[in-house]
């Protein structure tokens, strides 16, 4: 093993593991993957699309270089010329050296953000190739430890941080009490397991554990909009690290937990918390992992907030957010999900000074926190280094607040802020929305105020 971080014997390639990994490649080799493996002309114009390359321009950071590692294996196995003359077409055996390289490229230096995909003139889907390599490595127990643990905890405990039901409910109730007190409005509710509510809302477990004020923000928005909503205790974790490990079976299991919860409650819409990969997983991938379409709609909380504003269901005062704000598009919402106009529409309504990064939207740079990178501490330094492109973008805006709508982005942006000494505050979009809401004074409170004055 060339990398001292992966010295554990589970990272040793045995014959059995080799044939298992090859089987995975064979099973996953569909028309789309084969096209991406075959069509690259190695022109290298995708180089500057990748935030790793922009932050540290070296050939190993060119997207095609990463994809080329799996291509070499593919050619050796599936291309007649690759079998007969491997050196001629760049084919290679899946051996220990190649497995080490795949770990470093597929897990260690690609967030599967898709920026190179939209920039490749040939339409190569490097995301897809990298996820296939991850799937092969996961099948032979070569997933980096942190990512492996995150998936396992989710499968065993129902959420990726192992939060038990009691803590979950208590945290939500505590936040409800605080919100009622803050707004002087006891009519605010956070319903649990309400049958036939229109909307079921989810959380990223980090919100329950470390950012409970985001529960308040969501509750304030739902209550202000008069939404018929509920939380589920059966399944509520919006995340799905199976997307990152490449393990479709695990991913399908996590997705169907949420599906079951929504079906049991009989809701029309599943609203994914501000979590980029959670949205991508449940909105775009899950039905394909599970093998059937959902009877309900899946949307992001970002889309729902925009809808409330458009329908005039939130009374907003943007002067409550007067600092200059810029927005970081989570790759899994914008580039991989089409949610580009909504956050901008929201920000135009809730802040007074919104400024765009260059580039932004579909072309936005990944912050470096995608692809499960935050769970893989082995690659922390590379992740921080790759955040330089984002740090430079943020600095250029002169913004004091960076808003985003993804927890992995939030954490990575916070690290970037410290690492590159940026004088900004990182906030969730819903925090800014909640802060701008003008809460109607309840009649009793109004009466009390009048009495006090008298």
């Amino acid at each position: 093993m060339t990398n001292e971080k992966f010295t554990d014997k589970r990272f040793n390639l045995t014959d059995e593991k080799k044939s298992l990994a090859i089987d995975v490649l064979r099973q996953r080799l569909n028309r789309q993957l084969e096209a991406s493996l075959e069509v690259c002309v190695r022109c290298g114009v995708c180089a500057d699309s990748c935030h790793y390359y922009v932050s540290n321009p070296k050939p190993e950071h060119v997207p095609a270089y990463r994809a080329e590692q799996l291509r070499k294996v593919y050619r050796k196995l599936f291309d007649p010329v690759g079998k007969a003359a491997p050196g001629w077409v760049g084919a290679a055996e899946l051996d220990q050296e190649m497995v080490d390289e795949l770990i470093m490229t597929a897990f260690g230096s690609c967030t599967m953000c898709g920026r190179c995909v939209i920039n490749c003139p040939m339409g190569v889907d490097t995301r897809h190739i990298v996820r296939t390599a991850r799937a092969m490595l996961t099948a032979i127990d070569m997933t980096p430890g942190g990512l492996k643990a995150t998936v396992n905890v989710h499968l065993e405990k129902g959420n990726n941080m192992g939060v038990n039901e009691e803590d979950y409910v208590e945290t939500v109730e505590w936040m409800l009490e605080e919100l009622q007190a803050e707004l002087g409005d006891p009519s605010i509710t956070i319903p649990f397991n309400k049958k036939n509510a229109r909307v079921v809302y989810t959380f990223n477990p980090r919100e329950i554990k470390y950012f409970p004020y985001l529960i308040q923000a969501a509750a304030k928005i739902f209550n202000a909009a008069g939404e018929d909503w509920t939380l589920s205790t059966e399944s509520w974790d919006a995340t799905n690290y199976g997307l990152f490990s490449g393990d479709d079976a695990a991913a399908a299991q996590m997705a169907s937990n949420l599906e079951g919860a929504v079906n049991h409650l009989g809701a029309e819409t599943l609203v994914m918390a501000e979590c980029g990969h959670g949205y991508r997983s449940q909105r775009w991938e899950a039905e394909n992992w599970i093998g059937h379409s959902y009877p309900f709609e899946v949307i992001s909380f970002v889309e729902l907030q925009a809808q409330y504003i458009k329908e005039g269901r939130l009374k907003l005062d943007p002067t409550r957010n007067q600092k200059r704000v810029t927005f970081h598009d989570p790759c899994n919402q914008a580039r991989n999900g089409g949610i580009v106009d909504e956050p901008r529409y929201i920000l135009r309504n809730v802040v007074t000074d919104f400024v765009e990064m260059t580039p932004h939207g579909v072309e936005n740079y990944c912050c470096g926190g995608g692809g499960g990178m935050l769970s893989m501490t082995e690659f922390s330094n590379a992740r921080k280094e790759a955040g330089k492109a984002k740090a430079d973008q943020i600095s250029a805006t002169g913004a004091e607040i960076v808003a985003t709508s993804c927890h992995n982005c939030l954490d990575q942006l916070d690290e970037i802020k410290r690492h590159y000494k940026l004088k900004v505050k990182i906030q969730n979009l819903s925090e800014l929305v909640a802060n701008a809401i003008v809460w109607p004074t309840p009649p009793e409170a109004e009466e009390e105020k009048t009495e006090e004055k008298e």
Partner: protein
């Protein structure tokens, strides 16, 4: 049999093998699984597809081609040169009866095509990223294609070059399904999946949405 007749047979055999190879490649990819996307459409898939095969290929549409516009335009001229050289091949038995303006148009296009083709080898050797990414097949594929265009060019100017053009056509034909030049077959598949995937999700080629400024 004269040299033209013999070399023409070489070209025809090469092209027949090329066709056979391409058909085998097509058969392989068409036998791979293709699953319907079960998620609900957000954008119009058709618009994504249209975009992928039209405007999406314009040099200003992608950041990568805006930055590397020289490389991209080189590639465009090179490919136009290849198609034109195939045109020259098709009309080669009737070169004498072609109008002069058409001959000269072909000369200009294939001339530039060959030039930009050979320039590609130089760029590949001089670019540090391209050098690391390249394998022998890359150099040979570009060289063979450029040589093919150059012989199309030569044939238009000096019809005596025709037998050599035919021989090179035969070699290129055999090499197409074996080497990198076969990307021409997969291009349509990858662009299809690109347009379909990103169109379905409403990322590319869509009209302005209700939240747009």
């Amino acid at each position: 049999m004269d040299s033209i007749a013999i070399t023409r047979i070489i070209a025809i055999v090469g092209l027949a093998l090329c066709l056979l190879g391409i058909l085998l490649r097509l058969k392989t990819i068409m036998n791979r699984p293709f699953k319907k996307d079960l998620s609900r459409e957000r954008g119009l898939t058709g618009r994504g597809l249209l975009f992928a095969f039209t405007l999406g290929m314009a040099p200003w549409e992608k950041e990568s081609t805006r930055i590397h516009w020289i490389s991209y335009m080189r590639g465009i001229f090179f490919h136009v040169g290849i198609f034109t050289a195939f045109g020259v091949l098709l009309v080669s038995p009737w070169l004498e009866i072609l109008p002069n303006w058409l001959i000269w148009l072909g000369v200009v296009i294939t001339g530039f095509g060959a030039l930009f083709g050979f320039a590609g080898i130089f760029m590949r050797l001089s670019g540090p990223n391209e050098r690391v990414l390249s394998v022998p097949d890359d150099y040979v594929s570009v060289f063979l294609s450029s040589f093919f265009i150059a012989l199309g060019f030569a044939t238009l100017l000096w019809p005596s070059a025709l037998p050599v053009f035919y021989v090179v056509t035969g070699i290129v034909g055999v090499y197409i399904p074996l080497g990198k030049i076969r990307h021409c077959v997969y291009f349509f598949f990858s662009k299809f999946f690109f347009g379909k995937g990103f169109g379905h999700r409403g990322v590319i080629g869509q009209s302005k949405g209700k939240y747009a400024e």
